[in-house]
Symmetry: C2
């Protein structure tokens, strides 16, 4: 294949220092270096090949995933990779597997909920992968409502054991990743029953399979729950079903950091505060937000590059046609997503800081910021995953027909990503939690208790309720303070309106439930404000590199004004801005699209993704799309023979009139 950079002209147009932008995206020079090395390591290793994934049948696909996971572990060990490097390597292997749950849920659960002794016993085994663990919470009948789980763990003082049991069909564990075929152990959530009393849901370490021959232990039935959305995609994961028939585990396998059961069967709550558990949730959701920016940026990278290659219409006198990225409709769909990818990257970075801050405070027994941090991560998890799922599909559509081919990479990216809207908290359920927190904050406004962190702006509610936006010309919308106040006013007003309407209901609970659709909108407004404000803070920092800050400034404004345009109804119905100001924001947005246009390709190059990681013939670095599309097509199994299997039985008889019966 010819070696030309079809996007060279696009790259030469960039008005900023691409290498400096790479550092900004990666977070630091060091992070960029690690990511770059790991990405290349994976891309150059044939075992990590991904392009055949959509064509493999489930069993082959799964076996291949086991192979990759083992190979990755082997390389991690051989190369003595650091923890940071190892986790980066796993990112670039880019294939969901039991390993994710082992490191991402099993280990953190033991760390967060296990006593020191338990950690000492189990963590070394887990770190060496002498045991492989999963996280078995959800059941067939209960996901969002964790308190409704039905699996029981009944303490038997005679044997000093818990009896784990699935009393109903709906109590079957259902969904845990890594459970179906691989895990030897699980943290199982079950209702703790002792001395005849139900103490609610607790975590237990349960061995599932024999370490000798991998067969399920007596009393345990396990299987895979079946094919999921998409080709390849999440079907590399063995999400499982698990039923217990009176399985006994030693008492000391209950995770006892916050509560214990004594030898006698007494239930005791320790003095370690329960809120600690929220710390783990803040951690996990923070990683989900940073994954959102990764997934969205991949899709955007593909769509931007292809939109610069693809030409359609507008040829003048036989010259080349217009690049579709030059159409304003294409820009108005694509550039807000490019801006969102950057916005989510920065809010994810900030969440990392927040998690560190919360952890530090927890260690100093300061729980004051925890509820706010918890609401904030829940809300941002919801906002960023929903926007990313929608954004990937929009990127697919932006590629026209070719985006529908698996070789574009976009179908698999979408199918593998969308469950992020559901796991770790259904996005609507999470927004309702945020809304509850906002209503509480509003109700305490008069009380002298100052709202903290991301809700601090609510302390200025009185001012914001009266505020009038003073935008007179389109360029006024470029001022960070103007944008920020408009978003703050909108968020406060939506929240206060909800609070007022709730207060008219017979009871706060009825009011909350009746108005919950509005409350979700108020929660979204609050979360969007957080993203906008963190982007603005980022841009106000000192950022080295020619033109880098300017580009980020433009992206920040595109993010804010495109959100404003999309939710214009909110801003107008609350009187935060006037119709005229809304139109001016739209005018400004158009001009921002023109400004970002020459930099678009360079801005996705800054993600520094290899062609392997992108996994897309439309998004390849050199833009040499058409020969690659063709080459991929011929690999399809249907092309193994010219005349298809089935022709003789099912096509020829049709053509040869074998099925025609004369009408009587």
């Amino acid at each position: 294949m010819e070696e030309v950079d079809h996007l060279a002209h696009e790259r030469s147009k960039a008005q900023f220092d691409g290498d400096a932008m790479k550092v900004v995206w990666a977070g630091s020079k060091h992070a960029l270096d690690v990511a770059d090395r790991m990405a290349r390591l994976v891309a150059s290793d044939p075992v990590f090949r991904k392009d055949n994934r959509p064509m493999l049948a489930r069993k082959e696909l799964f076996k291949n995933t086991l192979r990759k996971a083992a190979h990755a572990w082997k390389r991690i060990n051989e190369l003595h990779l650091t923890e940071e490097e190892a986790s980066m390597l796993r990112v670039f292997v880019d294939e969901p597997s039991y390993v994710d749950l082992h490191w991402g849920m099993f280990v953190p659960a033991i760390k967060g909920q296990g006593t020191d002794e338990q950690q000492k016993k189990w963590l070394p085994l887990a770190y060496k992968m002498q045991i492989i663990g999963c996280y078995a919470q959800t059941e067939l009948g209960h996901g969002s409502n964790v308190q409704g789980l039905e699996t029981t763990a009944t303490f038997d003082p005679k044997t000093d054991e818990f009896i784990i049991h699935s009393p109903t069909l709906t109590s079957s564990k259902w969904w845990p990743g890594g459970l179906g075929k691989v895990s030897t152990h699980a943290v199982v959530y079950a209702r703790l029953i002792t001395e005849g009393k139900d103490y609610g849901v607790h975590g237990f370490i349960v061995q599932l399979r024999s370490l000798d021959d991998h067969s399920p232990l007596p009393g345990i039935t396990i299987g895979d729950i079946g094919t999921k959305f998409g080709n390849g995609a999440y079907n590399t994961m063995d999400n499982g079903v698990l039923q217990f028939d009176h399985v006994c585990i030693p008492r000391n396998q209950m995770l006892m950091r916050v509560s214990q059961v004594t030898r006698e069967g007494k239930y005791i709550v320790s003095d370690v505060p329960r809120q600690l558990v929220y710390g783990t949730m803040v951690y996990v959701r923070q990683t989900i937000v940073s994954d959102a920016s990764k997934a969205l940026s991949r899709a955007v990278c593909i769509a931007v590059r292809y939109s610069a290659v693809r030409r359609q219409f507008g040829s003048q006198d036989g010259g080349p046609e217009t690049q579709v990225i030059d159409y304003k409709t294409q820009q108005s769909r694509l550039f807000p997503l490019l801006a969102s990818a950057y916005a989510f990257r920065f809010v994810g970075e900030w969440l990392k800081w927040l998690y560190a801050d919360v952890t530090q405070r927890l260690q100093a027994n300061d729980f004051s910021t925890l509820p706010e941090a918890h609401a904030c991560t829940a809300g941002l998890k919801s906002l960023t995953t929903s926007a990313t799922a929608d954004g990937i599909e929009e990127c697919r559509k932006l590629c026209g027909g070719h985006g529908y081919l698996c070789s574009s990479g976009l179908p698999e990216l979408f199918a593998v990503y969308v469950p992020a809207c559901t796991y770790e908290g259904d996005n609507v359920v999470l927004l309702l939690q945020v809304a509850r927190f906002l209503m509480k904050t509003v109700s305490q406004l008069g009380s002298g208790k100052q709202p903290v962190g991301t809700t601090a702006y609510m302390g200025r509610a009185q001012h914001l309720m009266q505020y009038k936006c003073d935008v007179c010309g389109a360029e006024d919308w470029l001022k960070p303070s103007v944008i920020l106040e408009a978003f703050e006013a909108r968020a406060v007003r939506l929240a206060v309106n909800c609070a007022q309407n709730i207060s008219k209901a017979p009871s706060p609970e009825e009011g909350f439930s009746e108005l919950s659709a509005d409350l979700v909108e108020a929660a979204v407004a609050h979360c969007q404000l957080i993203v906008v404000s963190k982007f603005i803070e980022k841009v106000q920092q000192d950022i080295p590199g020619r033109g880098v800050k300017e580009q980020l400034q433009i992206l920040c404004n595109i993010y804010a004004l495109s959100v404003l345009h999309k939710h214009l109804g909110d801003f107008l119905v609350t009187g935060c801005i006037t119709p005229r100001q809304g139109s001016l924001a739209n005018d400004q947005l158009r001009s921002l699209y023109s400004q970002i246009r020459p930099n678009a390709v360079a801005l996705v190059d800054a993600f520094n993704y290899t062609d392997h990681y992108l996994g897309s013939v439309l998004g390849c670095y050199d833009g040499n799309v058409y020969p690659k599309l063709e080459e991929e097509a011929w690999k399809d199994p249907l092309n193994d023979s010219v005349v298809p299997d089935g022709y003789h039985e099912y096509v020829r008889p049709v053509l040869k009139q074998k099925f025609r019966v004369s009408r009587l």
Copy 2:
């Protein structure tokens, strides 16, 4: 499995005559009867089994599709089915295949563009399926821009033949369904070149494969273009790639209804008006709108039933938990989609009438309504397919985690549906066409030329520009006239604003292109008005059956007010309604949700879909979801063995520390 109707209680709550509603949905008693018989015929025939589709590898899947297509053809012949019955049967077989393109594109193309003589020759062969045809227009390099196609058809007066040729890689035909493996013939679009002159794109009937052994004819290279989005889904279709190396066809295989090439090579335009071609597009797009209501209603049926079965949270004193359909957030996401399914059904029905009307006029040489009909079908195709694609995915999310399993039916429904947003005109490109038509209409307003059909309201532009909505209380929003005027005013004002802004640009073309994102919004507003107005017209008809009209009235209002709420910014920025009126609409919407709630399950029962057609364990008629989910899970190939293939090579070595190397 137990035989209980878990939804019986829901069904008993319905406040209308379900059988009468079935007739309304089907269109007539006769249509209901045909659909019912054909659906049962398919459901009871084991050959038409669908549940294993997501698990089959591409080749098996495809072979199975060939089998189903042949079997359907056999049954159609054996049972002497009418054309209406046969096409219904194909709907319920519910598997994309070459047959769709043969009947849906190849035959209509010959009918629309062939001379009487050509029709006499080719149609009987096609009707008996002695030849199988596809529609080969799109190329690797050109889809939307049909005028940019590169394939050439050069007339050679020496041989009286056209030489069909693919001069470049990008001129390869790419995407045509049925082409890859099955079709013996194609209508190929190519640039007609005669006497050294390029006359642009014309259609040609080209034989592709031998009728003896199915091998491609000399000079023809064909293959499948590879795996597409989703499990099963559209992978049953052999979308193909096709390259010509100087392939000769007789002159009389050019489709010559509107233009001809003579024996001498002269290009002649006949007196049959070119606009006739638009008639076919109106026809095809009309069927797409009616398919949209089918696809959306299936997803909604699944989500409504499952939401009534699924319970989560809110148990009081150990009683049953709340059905998730009772949460207002669930309602505010689900009921607008239920209303949309009905709305699209009725606008589809009206489009059928419009097509008949246009055809009649064309026969009488009346072309006056064609541009409006064309814009209207283009716009409605775009609006309904976009809303349906998004709606199916929303229904999937509404089912929580279980919606992500293929056994829910929703992933496949989505993946198979989404290309409708791209084929037969990319949805954004179509909206730009609508916008162009609207701008023309606005520009002619002063000229005395009265806008017709769906643009008639623009004739009242002056009134609508000044109109002030007089809603004072929430119940005012129930008046059809109030809703209609608000939507009309919004549509006119957005269009006129665009026209005014365009007029400020250096040239109309530059203005149009600069403002195209706004123009698309104006086009959407126009199309939503059409849907709302046709729904209102429908409800104003005489509709028999207890409570039927009342339910449709509620659905109509839900459709209109939910669209208004979603696009509130439009209504406010144009000053059509006040912020207070916007809030009142929202209050009314909440109350409408409560009114429709007890009828929701019966309203989806009215679609009269069999469990086979729905293909979803979550949406099954009896609501017996959990045992079915479990049963499906065990069928996955991964569950063939307890210990997975690959354990010995790739899992055991990890557990047994085979990859650990001591650090030096």
